[in-house]
């Protein structure tokens, strides 16, 4: 007897598959980021190239004043090129916990993002519906030797397309710190992915960051030079 469709998957396999779908070997995306604050909000547009989990580079295309700013992530380093002063800065450790471009994400979030597969042990703790889709509810607890900031992560991954629809980040004292909500699934090439993601710091009322994917392509060939600090000035 065989079970071609309903093969039982381990929690780790689910997370791994979901992570791979959202990342591809390489990817290129054009995104609109809206930073929402109680009294104001700000929009910006970015182009992002990435390769695996270690390399990514993003270029700000608007607003006009920040146009041309580049952020480069190489493994655990973040570099920033600012065109108005024609300078490249390697962000010092002291700046890693600061907000990235005024959003609710920290520079550190950008760097550490990679490790949900490797650094955590995964358990399925139930099934729930999120935005009308059947989801696995998974609990991620950090491995003992892993250098992670969260005490626990709860993640909802949908059963058909392996989209991460909801993520809750808890600190060591099991307090909910950040929440991530994804919706508006769309077809990007042959993958279905949520086109809008909201990042919400729970303790700050009226604050959130909304990321909207306008273009999202996978498995293109991106030259390695894109991910060098010298190339930052020339990135278009």
């Amino acid at each position: 007897m065989s079970w071609p469709q309903i093969k039982a998957q381990t929690a780790t396999e689910i997370v791994d598959k979901s992570d791979k779908i959202a990342r591809g070997t390489t990817s290129y995306a054009e995104v609109k980021i809206r930073v929402v604050r109680p009294k104001w909000s700000k929009d910006m547009n970015l182009k992002i190239w990435s390769k695996g989990t270690d390399y990514s580079v993003s270029l700000v295309t608007s607003p006009a004043k920040e146009k041309g700013s580049v952020f480069l992530k190489r493994k655990t380093e973040v570099w920033n090129y600012i065109p108005s002063i024609e300078r490249t800065i390697k962000l010092p450790p002291s700046m890693m916990m600061q907000n990235w471009m005024g959003t609710d994400m920290t520079n550190d979030d950008l760097v550490k993002q990679s490790s949900i597969v490797v650094d955590y042990t995964h358990t399925i703790i139930g099934t729930e519906k999120v935005i009308g889709l059947d989801c696995w509810k998974l609990e991620l607890t950090p491995k003992e030797d892993a250098a992670v900031v969260w005490g626990k992560i709860i993640m909802w991954i949908d059963k058909t397309n392996y989209m991460q629809l909801k993520i809750e980040f808890y600190d060591e004292d099991a307090f909910l710190v950040n929440k991530l909500i994804a919706y508006h699934p769309k077809k990007f090439g042959n993958r279905t992915l949520p086109s809008k993601i909201e990042y919400i710091p729970v303790d700050k009322k009226g604050q959130k960051t909304v990321i909207e994917y306008l273009v999202w392509k996978f498995d293109l060939s991106i030259p390695d030079t894109y991910f060098t600090s010298n190339y930052m000035k020339r990135l278009r």
Partner: protein, 405 residues
């Protein structure tokens, strides 16, 4: 008649009178000099820090003082400027936009306090040409900056070099810019010297993506009108849901507290001085009375009214103290005026302490008629109190017993 008697009595024992007069005058001299120096120091501190920099009164957007960031800034336009101008006591309003940023150059970087100012307007508070030790001022829309001398020293920069700033702008915009150093200033205040960078207001607004916005509005007030009065006038006109009006005592509580603490110490010294003087005068009066018990007994027995006697002794004391006070005040005047014109420069440790507190180590004396007046009055009052002694003695005087001695 009593005056004549008193006068003659004083001349009867010249030496004693002279000693009393000189001790009183020395007391007045010392007290006035000390207070002039202390009050002069405070006055100088206030004028230097408050008058020339912070301003006696400032207007901010509401909540700015508690949370000093750009989100609590206000829009400064002609309308607001006109409104302020019409308020009694307001001479000028001087807009500033301040923010913290990271300054960097090659290997060095340091957090600095950027002050966006309109040079011509700042000139109304203090003559900047006296502060500039190198280079010159800037026009309102140039890419030029002025460094305080401590910053220039830290980055080893001089006029003509450039400095880069990176910071956070208004509403989450990132701020970055490269500026030319056009001048270096000595703000006569170590704290400001180590932290401040001055930039044209328009340039800072551009740097922070905050057009027309300012954080502090310095009110240059009419010196004849009190700070409190100006604050009241402003509060009546400005909507308190939008603006906050603050006096320097609220903005610089540590300055007021330092002054208060120091002043109390000074007053304690003066108090001790007065104690000594009080006993000095008391001693003289005591002698004056005891020595003359016989004489007083005779006067009473030949029919002089006791009240008149008391009156006479009182006049004697008054003449002594008043002469002393006037001599002291006259003697101290040239010193006060001299050191007012030629301030005392503290040296060594004391100067260092002063500078650590953020004050200049120069102390010009305060010339204020109120100081000798107050202290003269205090001594006069003290000597009046002392005359209670002869009063009581005379009242209790038994002429027979007195003459028997």
């Amino acid at each position: 008649m009593i005056l004549k008697l008193a006068w003659r009595n004083l001349w009867r024992n010249k030496k004693r009178s002279l000693i009393t007069i000189s001790s009183v005058s020395i007391a007045v001299f010392l007290a006035v000099f000390m207070r002039s120096m202390q009050l002069g120091m405070y006055d100088h501190m206030i004028k230097n820090v408050v008058g020339k920099y912070t301003g006696y009164v400032q207007v901010h957007a509401k909540h700015f003082w508690d949370e000093q960031n750009l989100d609590n800034s206000l829009v400064f336009n002609q309308g607001l400027a006109d409104t302020l101008k019409s308020i009694q006591g307001v001479v000028h309003s001087i807009p500033r936009l301040q923010t913290f940023s990271l300054a960097s150059s090659n290997e060095l970087s340091k957090g600095v306090f950027i002050q966006g100012v309109i040079f011509e307007k700042e000139q109304l508070l203090v003559d900047w040409n006296k502060r500039i030790i190198k280079g010159k001022g800037f026009s309102n829309q140039s890419n030029d900056i002025i460094l305080a001398k401590g910053i220039a020293h830290y980055f080893k920069k001089t006029v003509g070099d450039t400095l880069v700033f990176i910071g956070q702008g208004y509403h989450g915009m990132s701020a970055a810019g490269k500026y030319n150093i056009c001048g270096i200033v000595d703000m006569k205040n170590p704290k400001i010297n180590d932290l401040n960078v001055f930039m044209p207001l328009k340039t800072v607004q551009e740097y922070l993506s905050a057009p027309n916005r300012i954080t502090n509005l310095i009110i240059d007030k009419d010196s004849n009108i009190s700070t409190e009065r100006v604050i009241q006038n402003l509060q009546q006109v400005l909507d308190d849901n939008v603006y906050e009006v603050m006096g320097w005592k609220k903005m610089l509580p540590e300055l007021e507290q330092t002054i208060l603490a120091d002043s109390v110490g000074g007053l304690l010294m003066v108090f001790i001085l007065y104690m000594i003087i009080t006993f000095g005068i008391f001693g003289t009066v005591l002698m004056m009375t005891q020595e003359r018990i016989y004489e007083l007994g005779v006067m009473v027995s030949i029919g002089m009214k006791k009240l008149k006697l008391i009156w006479m002794l009182m006049v004697e004391t008054m003449i002594l103290t008043l002469t002393g006070i006037i001599t002291g005040a006259v003697l101290v005047a040239p010193f006060v005026f001299y050191f007012h014109a030629n301030p005392i420069n503290l040296a060594g440790d004391q100067a260092q302490v002063m500078e650590e507190f953020g004050f200049e180590s120069t102390v010009p004396l305060l010339t204020d008629i109120n100081i000798p007046f107050t202290h003269g009055l205090i001594i006069l009052f003290v000597s009046l109190l002392i005359t209670l002694y002869p009063t009581i003695t005379i009242l209790k005087l038994n002429p027979v017993k007195a003459m028997k001695q």
